[in-house]
């Protein structure tokens, strides 16, 4: 899955390269080669000047406002704010980066080339500074491209947005030539810089397959598995695991935030179905941020190292799955993983739990409660913690409880974390039944002291967000009820301060302040404030 500029991207990239070569020639020849262009520019402007009429001048002055600072501001802010609201921070970063780059390039070139405004014609519009390249045209182009790539979903709508952008940029260019504030070559180079920089940046840094523009309830972590990625997945499964695939499609997206879950239909006589989890660099970054957040919130109880690569993240989950199997923890059987793009995208393959349903969707009886609690006991005995026990990760298949999504699991966890696993499982079960019943079954497998320790360690914030949300909606106050049922135990503080945590907090606060100051400075210098 190489990054692809696509045909138009390559075209604009090479235009930009040709422009750089031309500028180098201008510097090397001390401007000698520009004479024919000067004559051509002046000739074109004089011809256009001959077409001036009162109504056309009035119209062109109106169109010329497209290049004003206010227009650019009005168009730029939605391209910055909307992706942030939709949690597509990468789009905002790429847009702001492209905008700053375009402003820096055009500003610096204007000074280096210091070309005056057109001579020999009557200039009838407003201008500012040197004329080459046309900064208003480049600015409008970069914000329109930014809007297109940050707000408009890939496909027909984006194609239409590009046409509209082209018409607006062209109109501004024409108006500036009509008013004779720019030379034709200034406008052309302004368009090349204003289009090439954001286009190449968005295509390389936010490829649609990895960072789609969506406004629905879909999570940013979910990748598009159609098109080239779908082909790459099929090829990788066949080449690396010998699995011939009939169909790959997203599956159970609503329950997953850290990867893209897939249903893989194998092309065999048994109509085998497999489960896949697609991981990309975005998931790795999300995992890092998640762990940093947990360390900041809870301190050393949650201290752990982050994964350095996507490969290591997938390797770890594959290892944990195998460990769970070896420890007889009911979980999906792993079939290994395949490499889609080296160091960037990997697909973990496991058995598909046919007929399994989330515990929240089934009738929970005592047998299911007992089995679910025995799964926690097995985890404890094997020195493992799942750390993400919530309704969507506890499946029921033929009356058996199965744990899925073991990516956050830990070997030799802290006793606190193991206690929280028990509490989260009991809360998950109580959501479908009641606290008294779950407690009564739990004391058959756990000592009352262990249960009281579990709930002394548990707060809403220690539960996964899905479980937390379900507890909020449930009006029975399940955590206090369990605490009342179990023998009294003073709450265990989850806050643990260490030098590392204080250092992390200091670094985060200082980093945020520095980023804010830099950002404000940059936005001010780009006239967005």
């Amino acid at each position: 899955m190489p990054r692809d500029l696509r045909r138009s991207g390559r075209y604009w990239f090479w235009l930009a390269v040709a422009t750089v070569v031309f500028w180098l020639l201008v510097f090397v020849t001390n401007g000698t080669i520009t004479s024919p262009f000067e004559r051509l520019d002046t000739g074109i402007l004089r011809t256009i000047e001959g077409w001036r009429t009162a109504w056309l001048t009035s119209l062109m002055r109106g169109v010329h406002k497209l290049g004003s600072d206010w227009t650019v501001r009005l168009l730029a802010w939605p391209a910055i704010v909307v992706p942030i609201v939709c949690r597509r921070f990468r789009h905002t970063l790429v847009f702001v980066g492209a905008l700053i780059l375009v402003k820096s390039i055009t500003g610096a070139l204007a000074v280096l080339i210091h070309r005056p405004r057109p001579l020999g014609v009557s200039v009838i519009g407003g201008w500012e500074g040197f004329s080459h390249p046309s900064r208003p045209v480049a600015d409008l182009a970069v914000v329109l491209l930014g809007l297109t790539y940050t707000l408009v979903p890939h496909g027909r709508w984006r194609q239409s947005a590009k046409w509209v952008s082209g018409i607006l940029i062209g109109s501004l260019g024409v108006s500036r030539l009509y008013l004779a504030v720019d030379h034709p070559s200034d406008v052309v180079i302004g368009v090349i810089i204003g289009v090439a920089v954001p286009l190449v940046a968005f295509r390389l840094l936010t490829p649609n397959e990895a960072f789609p523009v969506t406004f629905g309830r879909g999570k940013a972590a979910h990748l598009d598995v159609g098109g080239p990625r779908g082909d790459a997945i099929r090829l990788a499964l066949e080449d690396q695991l010998g699995i011939k695939v009939r169909q790959v499609r997203p599956f159970g997206l609503e329950g997953s935030a850290g990867s893209t879950p897939l249903r893989i239909e194998v092309d065999d006589e048994a109509d085998t179905v497999l489960f896949g989890k697609l991981y990309a660099a975005t998931h790795l970054r999300a995992d890092r941020w998640y762990k940093l957040g947990r360390t900041l919130l809870y301190g050393r109880l949650e201290d752990e190292s982050t994964f350095s690569t996507v490969r290591r993240l997938v390797q770890y989950e594959d290892y944990l799955l195998r460990l769970m199997q070896a420890a007889s923890v009911p979980s999906a059987e792993p079939y290994g993983f395949v490499e889609i793009t080296p160091e960037r995208e990997y697909l973990l393959v496991t058995e598909f739990m046919a007929g399994a349903r989330e515990i929240g969707e089934v009738e929970v009886d005592d047998a299911i409660i007992d089995h679910a609690l025995s799964v926690v006991r097995t985890l404890w005995d094997a020195g493992l913690a799942h750390r993400d026990i919530k309704p969507s990760n506890v499946l029921v298949q033929d009356g058996r409880v199965i744990l899925i999504d073991v990516a956050f699991g830990e070997v030799r966890p802290s006793p606190w974390r193991q206690a929280v696993d028990l509490a989260n499982m009991m809360l998950t079960l109580a959501l479908r039944t009641d606290a008294q019943r779950v407690y009564a079954r739990a004391v058959l497998q756990f000592a009352p002291a262990e249960i009281s320790e579990a709930f002394a360690s548990t707060y809403k914030i220690t539960s996964p967000s899905q479980l937390r949300g379900d507890l909020r909606e449930d009006r029975r106050d399940l955590i206090p009820t369990f605490r009342l049922l179990a023998p009294f135990r003073a709450p265990i503080s989850i806050q643990r301060w260490s030098v590392r945590r204080i250092g992390l907090w200091s670094a985060v606060v200082a980093g945020a302040l520095v980023t804010l100051v830099l950002l404000l400075g940059l936005l001010n210098s780009t006239r967005l404030l």
Binding site: S104, I105, A108, L112, H114, P116, G125, E128, F130
Partner: protein, 184 residues
């Protein structure tokens, strides 16, 4: 690894461009010499197209630097800073006309111009405006000098002068072999 190198290259290019832009004041400053920053003089002349001359910097006295230059349609402005008189101690604004009401006319030291002075504060520091009015334009020198450099007003104005549009036009025609000129 390759991606990192490309990113570093792009960052270096960006820094180089920003640095070029930041350190560019000298190239955009209109100097009173046809061989230095001629295009800045042309641009200044284009800003006020009816003026028969344009203000420029003859030479900067020791301790003075160009703080900023801003040339746009209808107005050109540059600011000079001094190590003693302070940042932006002298700001020159070139427009098609000035309001000199309340200012006192005194004999001009620049041929073909009328000079007006308006003094606001003489201690501490010095605040005042000097105007040069001429055919089609006006140059206003705004002084805001700190106490330490209050005596530097004259030194600063010695740095400034004018160059005629006629001279600029002749150079334009010569350089472009008659193709380019201010006139249509």
């Amino acid at each position: 690894m390759r991606r990192r190198r490309v990113s570093l290259g792009a960052a270096a290019l960006l820094l180089a461009l920003v640095a070029a832009g930041c350190g560019s004041t000298n190239q955009t400053t209109p100097m009173c010499s046809l061989d230095a920053n001629f295009n800045a003089l042309v641009l200044e002349a284009q800003a006020v197209p009816k003026a028969d001359r344009v203000p420029c910097i003859r030479a900067l006295p020791a301790g003075w630097t160009v703080f900023s230059t801003d040339i746009r349609r209808g107005r050109a402005r540059f600011a000079l800073s001094s190590d003693r008189a302070g940042s932006r101690a002298l700001q020159m604004t070139f427009t098609s006309g000035c309001d000199t009401s309340g200012a006192t006319e005194i004999p001009s030291d620049e041929k073909g111009t009328r000079r007006f002075e308006r003094v606001e504060v003489v201690t501490p520091g010095f605040k005042g405006t000097r105007y040069y009015r001429f055919a089609g334009g006006c140059a206003a020198y705004r002084f805001e000098l700190h106490e330490e450099g209050r005596a530097l007003a004259n030194e600063a104005t010695l740095a400034l002068s004018f160059i005629s549009r006629e001279t600029l036009d002749a150079k334009l025609r010569k350089d472009s072999k008659g193709n380019l000129s201010f006139e249509r």
